[in-house]
């Protein structure tokens, strides 16, 4: 089985499974996918979650660190590349079966979701490996944030069961066909999807301290 890099995989998929690939998106002059949405994500150095950085040490190390923290440039968004094996959501089970049966990638290592509010996407990344060893393959699925639906590959790969539940719970990606589509970390009545970039950093608003003379909210 030849080892493929991303471009080759993309070409192979174009040949074998027509219509599976995601159409290319408009690029900006850096070759990155054009940012289509206003960036609403907060500054990474902001302190709405409370000061999580450790107390500054003494000396110029502290000054340097302060400088790092203070003069943050505008948060940039990681680029979405063009020649990866990006697959349409509804064709994902076919592509996964193709990888397993034809190319021999029979071990699914991870299902990860990454939130790109700037592009209005959630990208779900699947890492496939072979049991015999060797480097793996990556398959990406990009779904719009407000309608994140990907057919579940749990019927084919039972190992994806819990990972897909994590993606549902923390990112809000729905997986029709999943045998047990429930939240996994948060309790069932929780609203919202905590790992999304626009999830309000509300602190621990479920637990109210009532100080003397102050209200109930944090």
């Amino acid at each position: 089985m030849p080892l493929l890099n991303q471009g080759e995989l993309r070409a192979l998929l174009e040949r074998e499974l027509p219509g599976a690939l995601d159409p290319t998106r408009p690029v900006n002059r850096y070759g990155n996918v054009e940012a289509t949405h206003q960036l609403e994500v907060e500054d990474q150095a902001s302190d709405t979650m409370g000061d999580t950085s450790p107390p500054p040490a003494t000396g110029d190390a502290a000054a340097e660190r302060q400088a790092d923290v203070v003069d943050k440039e505008e948060p940039s968004v990681p680029p979405l590349s063009q020649d990866d094996a990006v697959v349409r959501a509804e064709r994902l089970p076919d592509v996964a079966a193709f990888l397993r049966d034809r190319l021999g990638y029979d071990y699914l290592s991870r299902v990860t979701a990454v939130d790109y509010p700037a592009y209005g996407l959630i990208e779900v990344v699947y890492h496939f490996y072979r049991i015999e060893g060797g480097p793996g393959q990556i398959v990406r699925v990009r779904v719009p944030r407000d309608n994140a639906v990907i057919p579940s590959i749990t019927p084919m790969w039972p190992g994806a069961n819990l990972e897909e539940r994590v993606c549902y719970d923390l990112f809000g990606v729905h997986f029709p066909g999943h045998p047990y589509h429930k939240r996994i970390y948060m309790w069932d009545e929780f609203e919202g999807h905590p790992m999304r970039k626009d999830f309000e950093k509300i602190g621990d608003s479920y637990y109210h301290f009532k100080w003397k003379g102050e209200g109930g909210e944090e």
Partner: protein, 374 residues
């Protein structure tokens, strides 16, 4: 016919043998398990989101707390991923030290895992205490090297935080000398015990054909007969320089996993001996000199891109996925926790066995809730 009902038992978050706060809702028919539903989230500490807020260096401290039984391996995996993305080269001596610490962590983990598994079976802690004696010796080494017994915070980008002093090398060699005796004692005490065999043979079988589909890794998949070890499948660090075997079981039951873990301790000892022999000839320093300054570590900015690196943790395949946007903290920081994925198979492994077997099977998968809930 007598009308019987299925009883739903809650093996609740507070339980002596659920290895942490972990809830299992078991539906049993008499004593036979019909369905198992695990409930997670009791130890969810928002690890992945913290990784997005803190700098890369600060995140090393929380990677320790993922799999808190063997902390060094978590750090190893994370540092590897960051170095891959930033193209930082790690000198040879640092690689040797990292391998030594990782293999010591593996022994740490297996000694405790086997001990706790036997404790769950009712052996009231004798073997556990023997395992803990070895753990104490290793934790003394960790304390000398990293400052803390369990959450060592020792590895840095480009190497490790401190060098190994000759005293420490002496200490490690002493430990390695006494170690084979411990394993032999352990084996003699427990391996052919009739009750142990009766309770673990053919219990919790995971057939070979299903193992890869379930994405289980570590001693679970090796017990089922598939020799998948990342140190061989996709060698990282300097593992391709050491001669070691990969123990593989045949049946896939709980006893096989126990045997695999025992043998893995032996193989770790073998790797450690080779590493200690080769350590004096290793070139380079304990850290990449360009990244030695603390400010360089703290202010490390990774170029935009992503990386996914896996290490062979004693529990399975531990993977780190970092997406960077050019800043000094991750845009997305994800962890592939072996304990969580190994638990996918728990329902199928337990079905048809009795309630008493649930804890035995759970102990043989060897989970730690820090990883499962992150």
């Amino acid at each position: 016919m007598l009308k019987t009902e299925e009883l739903q038992i809650n093996i609740g978050p507070q339980h002596p043998s659920t290895h942490g706060v972990f809830r299992l809702m078991a539906t049993v028919d008499g004593e036979t398990v019909v369905h198992l539903e695990p409930v997670f989230g009791y130890l969810h500490r928002n690890h992945e989101q913290l990784g997005e807020i803190w700098t890369y260096l600060q995140t090393i401290t929380i990677t320790d707390r993922l799999d808190y039984f063997n902390s060094m391996i978590n750090e190893h995996g994370y540092c590897m991923t960051v170095e891959k993305l930033a193209s930082i080269e790690v000198p040879e001596r640092a690689e040797y030290i990292r391998v030594i610490m990782s293999e010591l962590s593996r022994i740490l983990n297996h000694a405790a895992a086997i001990g706790f598994w036997l404790q769950d079976m009712g052996s009231w802690g004798t073997t556990l205490m023997f395992g803990f004696r070895q753990r104490e010796m290793i934790m003394d080494i960790f304390e000398s090297v990293g400052g803390s017994r369990m959450m060592c915070n020792y590895m840095r980008f480009g190497g490790v935080a401190r060098d190994l002093t000759p005293n420490l090398v002496e200490q490690i060699n002493l430990f390695l000398e006494g170690f084979p005796q411990f394993i032999d004692d352990f084996e003699r005490l427990m391996m052919e015990n009739e009750i142990l065999l009766a309770r673990s043979r053919n219990v919790g079988v995971l057939p070979k054909e299903l193992a890869a589909a379930y994405s289980v890794t570590g001693p679970v998949i090796r017990g089922s007969g598939i020799p998948y070890d990342i140190r061989r499948a996709e060698p990282y660090s300097i593992y391709d320089r050491f001669a070691f075997d990969i123990p593989v079981g045949s049946v896939g039951d709980v006893y096989d996993r126990f045997l695999v873990r025992m043998e893995e301790m032996r193989q770790s000892h073998r790797i450690l001996r080779q590493a200690m022999e080769q350590l004096p000839q290793a070139s380079g320093s304990y850290i990449n000199q360009a990244y030695k300054a603390a400010s360089k570590q703290q202010g490390l900015r990774l170029p935009a891109g992503e990386a996914y690196c896996r290490v062979e943790s004693p529990k399975g395949e531990l993977g780190y996925y970092i997406v960077s946007n050019g800043g000094n903290s991750a845009y997305r920081y994800g962890i592939r926790a072996p304990s969580l994925i190994n638990l996918t198979a728990l329902n199928d492994m337990c079905r048809g066995y009795t309630v008493a077997d649930i804890v035995v099977i759970l102990g043989s998968i060897d989970i730690v809730m820090g990883e499962v809930d992150r």
